[in-house]
Amino acid sequence: MNEELDSQLSAMFDDELPPQECELLARRLSRDEALKARWGRYAVVGAVIRAERGVRLNAPLAGRVNAAISAEPTLGAVAASRSALPTPVRWWQPLAGAAVAAGVAAASVLWLRAQAPAVLPLTAQHAASAVAAPLLKASAGLNDASYVTPRMPAVRPMLVPSTQLANYVVAHSMVSSPVAGRNLLSAFISSESPPTPVEDVRVNVAGDAK
């Protein structure tokens, strides 16, 4: 027996052999019965030193396990046969994916429809008030020659620019064509970022802020 090999075996038994050397020695150990017997005796030495009383050091346990394992299917072969098996269920996997996607889409539609009664009236109400308020104010302004610029929604508090510029734009929109006025106002609003929100800005037709 090679002394270096036995030295490696002793170190491997103690988990003190580098992994690369373990790989090589494990291969040899699994095939070499003499080496395996020595390995088994190393275990016996340890059991005696630890004074493992009641344990039969000559028990035929390893032989019995070996006999039982011999009747078992080889693990590598089992894994290979499992991977080599045809997979008849795989054809439905794309369909299952599509079904899940369709289900999510249907649930989304149903959810939106469930939300619709709560959203639409508010939107309609808001739109109606947004349209009606200037008209009402305008009609009221016929009396006092002024109107109130609509209050900006809270979510976009910076939409109203400085008062003078707002007055100019609004006044200009009154005399320009509706499309041009709206475009100018939109362009102005989108380009401006006023420092503070302005609540109500009362503007008279002549352009003086009150």
Partner: protein, 202 residues
């Protein structure tokens, strides 16, 4: 040095279909496992049966072993569960009343003795092994004896032993190997062909 590298290399071989590598694992851990199971059952023969079952369960479950824990830790859990289940099923099984027990105490005792290796008949070889190993250890030079005892009894790593003995790790490895070789030389005479397994494996 990665802990459990040797066990893992054997485990990987078993997972690739090398049954001989599993044999090495059984040889390494059979005594520890029987000792562990004997916390649950007192009869060593029953403990061996449970340990055998645990090893077979471990073999069947080995494809699922990923190496996240040490192999022995994993095996330990399997053995504990197997022992607990065995105790439960034994307690549930109907008690066999031996109506003639009082009249045949002698034969009942003899039956128990044959199953129990703690009896003088069952322990002859084990005692011989123990005395041989102990005598071989006593005959070792001090540095070899200290190294093997620190390793096997205290479970110290080579590095820890090197620190304790104030020598290089390579020296520790050499001392432990030489100690094992000296003991093994005496043991081989008893086992005659490797734990008496040559005939069984035939």
């Amino acid at each position: 040095m990665s802990a459990d590298a040797s066990d893992l290399s054997l485990v990987r071989r078993v997972q690739r279909g090398d049954k001989g590598a599993f044999d090495a694992l059984v040889l390494k851990y059979q005594h520890k496992l029987v000792k562990l199971v004997m916390r649950y059952v007192r009869n060593p023969a029953e403990a061996e049966d449970i340990a055998q079952e645990a090893f077979i369960k471990a073999y069947r479950a080995l494809p699922q072993f990923r190496g996240d824990s040490a192999f022995y830790t994993w095996l330990y859990r399997i053995a504990i569960n197997t022992a607990k289940n065995a105790v439960v099923s034994r307690d549930r099984s109907p008690i066999e009343y031996d109506l003639d027990r009082n009249s045949s105490d002698e034969s009942y005792e003899m039956q128990g003795r044959m199953k129990d290796p703690e009896t003088p008949e069952g322990l002859v070889l084990t005692d011989e092994i123990r005395s041989t190993v102990n005598a071989a250890i006593d005959a070792l030079p001090e540095d070899l004896r200290t190294a093997i005892v620190l390793r096997e009894l205290e479970g110290l790593s080579y590095e820890e032993i090197a620190t304790a003995m104030d020598c290089p790790v390579g020296t520790v490895r050499s001392r432990i190997f030489r100690a094992r070789e000296a003991i093994d030389k005496r043991l081989r005479e008893i086992f005659e062909g490797g734990l008496g397994r040559a005939e069984e494996l035939g």
